[in-house]
């Protein structure tokens, strides 16, 4: 469904944020893009969504195609029209607007009947939001805000749902609930998901396939289960020793400079 081939992204012709990245997201699959801060994950999302140019970046090589159509020159609103929808990092709700208004904005490009049907679905997925529809979204808890952010994206009728750090700043129990919802969306709706996460253990548990990025390059790529069993991934991204016990912070030093796979 989504193909990223030998992608190279630069900012201001000087900074190479992404180099020679290739990722394939099949229809109905969940693919995780993992890596530390600055690895280039969010830059890839910006390129897919059509907001890269507005932020001073450009695709300097390679291509991104969605169902065979290049996204190199796509505008953000056209990307949404095609069904490419993002849940941005930090949720970025419209804090002063109510929950209902946030959800309505998600469905901005859709017809009344479609919006009503999706809204019913969102109420089913996130019952805690039902009695908070008239509250300003900025007053909700972090978990509730993530529900609204996910609901808002669903209102757009996504065919490819992209989530940027959905577990950021959330309690483990809330993260569990969010990831369970993502699994449900894939299983029940056949939704295709591209997941960007620093929480590698949760992402690998959910995804079918994963790509680890480091310094803008692919450090590792393969089936999620294979990566989860890889000793290097376990040591550097999951913080686990070979025996499976949790390593302390000093032992689990950052992967940067120690971990290098050929690109």
């Amino acid at each position: 469904m989504l193909r990223i081939e030998s992608l190279r992204i630069t900012y201001g012709n000087a900074v190479e944020a992404v180099r020679d990245l290739s990722v394939h997201v099949p229809r109905g699959g969940i693919v995780a893009l993992l890596g530390a801060n600055g690895a280039g994950k969010s830059t890839v999302l910006k390129a897919i969504c059509g907001v890269l140019t507005a932020e001073g970046g450009r695709i300097a090589g390679g291509d991104i195609t969605f169902e065979g159509t290049s996204l190199r020159a796509i505008r953000a609103d056209d990307a949404v029209r095609r069904g490419i929808v993002q849940v941005p990092e930090g949720r970025r709700l419209f804090a002063r607007l109510t929950v209902a208004e946030n959800l309505a904005i998600g469905g901005f490009l859709r017809g009344t009947a479609e919006r009503a049907a999706t809204l019913a679905r969102i109420h089913d997925l996130f019952p805690p939001l039902l009695d908070k529809l008239d509250r300003p979204a900025g007053l909700l808890s972090g978990g509730e805000q993530q529900m609204v952010a996910l609901g808002r994206a669903l209102m757009a009728g996504p065919r490819l749902l992209m989530l940027d750090e959905p577990s950021l700043g959330l309690a483990p129990v809330i993260t569990d609930a969010i990831f369970a919802t993502l699994a449900r969306l894939r299983d029940e709706l056949g939704l295709t998901i591209l997941l960007i996460e620093q929480n590698a253990s949760r992402a690998l548990a959910l995804a079918d396939h994963a790509t680890v990025m480091e310094g803008g390059r692919v450090a590792a790529s393969g089936p999620a289960a294979t990566l989860a069993a890889d000793p290097m991934i376990r040591a550097h991204y999951l913080g686990l020793s070979d025996s499976g016990s949790r390593r302390n912070v000093r032992e689990a030093a950052p992967a940067t400079a120690r971990l290098r796979w050929p690109a």
Partner: protein, 290 residues
């Protein structure tokens, strides 16, 4: 007591024109985060164009209130396409500087096209004083109230109930996220500029019909700027109310104090209001869970 009532009512009438200008400032700010310092000049240009139409086709005054907004919408769309759209994605400060440049250009253009001599607006609302509860008002003053009320109702309905209104509110809060939700922020900006020019054209025509059409007409828009600061720069309806407050404050200051003080009353009101409410009386404050 009669004097006080006269001052308040005539202040409200002047304030209705300020309020319309204030709404025009706020419409653009709310949708784009930019203060259009060419607001008065845009209104002046539309007044000149409306006057040119009325000179060719003599029509009653009320038609000017229909023709001017139509010219205003066209002017707003053209300015957005030529001047503002190329600046999309640039910092708001850069766009504000462009509006200042635009103001200077419009002033020069008007002098080049129509000369610097002031002239009478071709249509008049009538000079017969209408008595309302013992207070005398000119028809244009009553018309100003009516137009402001209509503009407030239209703005409220647009922002509260329409999809485009919701898109404008979302874009004002976070343009990038609005873009990610499929909102075409360039279209939102174009609509805001068109609506703003339409509303300011009404203010311009009402003002010009009580004074004259001249190349310093833009100062009415500048003078109304405190209205939108007092009411809240991001509140379209608040800015309208800010205009009414400004009109009354100015009149009371002029009536009971020195006439010279009347000119600075609006700016004193800005300082006083901002010290108490930094976002203006009706401006939105950030909502954040602590």
């Amino acid at each position: 007591m009669q004097f006080l009532a006269d001052l308040i009512v005539s202040g409200l009438a002047a304030g209705a024109i300020y309020g319309l200008f204030g709404m025009a400032y706020a419409a653009i700010y709310k949708a784009t985060g930019v203060v259009n310092f060419a607001q008065g000049e845009v209104a002046m240009l539309i007044v000149y164009l409306t006057a040119a139409v009325l000179l060719r086709i003599p029509l009653p005054f009320w038609t000017a209130l229909l023709i001017a907004p139509l010219i205003g919408i066209a002017t707003g769309l053209v300015l957005d396409r030529l001047v503002i759209r190329p600046m999309v994605g640039r910092p708001p400060f850069a766009i504000v500087m462009v509006t200042i440049g635009l103001a200077v250009m419009i002033r020069a253009l008007i002098v080049l096209a129509w000369g610097s001599e002031p002239r009478e607006f071709p249509a008049r609302a009538g000079e017969t004083v209408v008595k309302l509860g013992g207070i005398g008002l000119y028809p244009v003053q009553i018309l100003a109230f009516f137009v402001l009320a209509l503009a407030i109702a239209a703005a409220w309905a647009l922002l509260r109930f329409s999809r485009m209104g919701l898109a404008m509110r979302a874009t004002a809060i976070d343009e990038r996220t609005a873009t990610l939700m499929g909102i075409d922020v360039r279209r939102v900006a174009a609509i805001a500029w068109a609506a703003s020019a339409a509303v300011s054209s009404l203010a311009g025509v009402l003002f010009a019909s009580t004074t004259y059409v001249g190349p310093d007409l833009f100062q009415a828009g500048l003078k109304a700027f405190p209205a939108t600061i007092v009411g809240g720069l991001d509140s379209v309806i608040g800015s309208a109310i800010g205009g009414l407050i400004l009109g009354v404050v100015e009149n009371l200051t002029g009536g009971y104090g020195d006439t010279a003080l009347k000119e600075i009353a609006g700016f004193v009101a800005i300082v006083a209001v901002l010290m108490i409410r930094p976002t203006g009386l009706f401006g939105a404050r950030d909502v954040e869970r602590l």
